[in-house]
């Protein structure tokens, strides 16, 4: 029974919510809870934390009583590590390149790297897409909308 439990989504879902709720409830004790009439900053989070813990336990309970779904996996069957990595790497590079080199390099890197996440994309295609977005994108945000973000800079 416990073997199948570890394959259940609701086992983790309920566990996560219980932990989160309990964490919030305990942490709200560090703020002033106050009384029901004069509530302190800690009262509302404390109540929410207790409610969330309770719901988490209920979700956990449904994992115990329902049979394992036929096709129940936590991660999708096809694991898109490349796609996931590239989608996260894009915005991360946007932060780094935006901070040091300006809007244009940041945009290019963001689009280029995240485009590589698709299994059918090629290096050349991604580079071209990067340029195709960077040029009108920077023109729009910098020249039309006057976003205070220099197109190029040397931020070291």
């Amino acid at each position: 029974m416990f073997q199948t439990l570890f394959h259940k989504r609701d086992f983790y879902a309920g566990g996560l919510m219980t932990l989160l709720g309990a964490g919030v409830a305990f942490d709200s004790g560090t703020y002033d809870v106050g009384s029901l009439t004069h509530m302190g900053p800690g009262m509302f989070p404390l109540m929410l934390g207790v409610v969330l813990t309770f719901i988490g336990v209920l979700i956990f309970g449904t994992a115990l009583v329902t049979p394992l779904g036929e096709d129940e996996h936590i991660l999708p069957r096809q694991k898109e590590w490349r796609g996931w990595f590239c989608i996260i790497a894009g915005p991360v590079l946007f932060i780094i390149f935006g901070h040091y080199f300006g809007m244009a390099p940041a945009t290019f890197m963001c689009v280029f790297v995240s485009a590589l996440g698709d299994r059918t994309s090629t290096l050349l295609g991604s580079v071209l897409l990067g340029f195709a977005i960077t040029i009108p994108g920077c023109a729009l945000f910098s020249l039309v909308l006057h976003l205070p973000f220099p197109i190029f800079r040397w931020g070291f």
């Binding site: 929410l48 409610v51 898109e80 909308l145």
Partner: protein
Amino acid sequence: MVTTALTDLWFGFGVALEPHNLMWCFIGVLVGNMVGVLPGMGPLATISILLPLTFGIPPVGAILMLSGVFYGAQYGGAICSILLNLPCHPPHAVTCLDGFPLTKQGRGGAALGITVISSFVGASWGITEMIFLAPVLVTVALKFGPAEICSLMLLGLLAGSTLARGSPLKGVAMTVCGLLIGIVGSDIETGTPRFTFGIPNLFDGVEIVALALGLFGIAEFMKSVNQLSEVDTKYTKVTFKDLRPTKDELRRSWGAMFRGTIIGSLCALIPGTGPTIASFISYAAEKKISKTPELFGTGMIEGVACPEASTHSSVQGDFIPTMSLGIPGDAVMALILGALMIQGIVPGPQLISEHPDIFWGLVASFWIGNIMLVVLNVPMIGIWVKLLAIPYKYLYPSALFFVCIGVYSTGNDMFQVGETIVIGLIGYMLLLLDFHPAPILLGFVLGPRFEENFRRAMLISRGDSLVFIDIRNHPISAFFIFLAVMLIVVQLYVRLRKPKALIPELEMNAKPNAIAPVEP
């Protein structure tokens, strides 16, 4: 009563027809229609991307544009469903059932034509409902004290989280998470920083744009990457001429259209049952009263007209609780409400009297926007159909750039981009665990007001928590709590006693998630 509403509407048309407002409305519906057509992009992500761009324009223009995206996307989504059989926009998933067979029979153009007509009929009814119902709601709501507001919010949050798709229990969990995220930042009364982990950037709270783009941008992209197969565009050659339905098709659609409209407008009034549920209920109802229910699914024009009309009447009706009570029914409405708050406008029953230009301008712009959409969709159908062929591998990197720059522009701060990435990762994890993140936004937007009113109600009642169910002094509040309890009891009863009644709901839950094309 009727005359005041009509004079106010006249004033609204004056506001909405001002050239710059007209322009914002046009941009909104145009962008909305475009993202509606593009498979894999939704109105939620688009509205969140556009949200920071509206900081600089006056509130009326901002709201007209953002709302335009929402109802514009509904027109576009239907094209995607009918011609490609892609149920990537949940409210139109049911339209695939009969719309795509029609396309295969070569009547796709006529189905689109009927869609445009029923959309317009549905939307017009929804707008009319808003004109007459919202002021009535407001006169009642203005009498509400903190206890009543609190109970109403509780009811709205419960309905929004349990009636939407997915498990109700998980929906409530997500709402509570949203309320908790709303707490992050300085406490409104004492200024104590709460749950900020010592990061000064979080003292102002979590940025709504970062939250929305993390959950509906980055997390959605992670879910859909490499999952959308190349779309089959073999049926998508539709020209202006093809849109004309035959007399017989038109005759069969009228009844369905009106029934759909009524169902949609009723669904709009219950928070949480937005356009998606309305379209599924109306399709089921239409099938039930039809003389030939067995033909549904093989290309019945009624099966297109009815859900489309109800989607649109529900989309417009969704604005009623949002604008008159300040209680959003779903995540899109929560975003629109967030946009109002960023502009410094306090949502709630006083909105119509304090900012009549926003409310009546919005109502009038709905009509103008819907007429624009009919004009955009009918002669330009060829262009929209071409957009269907844009592959996802070009779409999501471009969208990611807009996500980054949009979040950055909220405060010219790279921290917000980082925040979005973290929220996106958490959002994807929640998606994997079968949570639907939409209620998070609902809780997040209502959270601070909920807490404020809760504290105030308890202060007034001197700490007596029974104030909310005190029938003698607070009958309205007690009534809302009663409704909330009934909501839970009925759902429990249905789940435990009649699991069979849930089957259509299960189908519905399965469908919108099916982002990959269904067997053509």
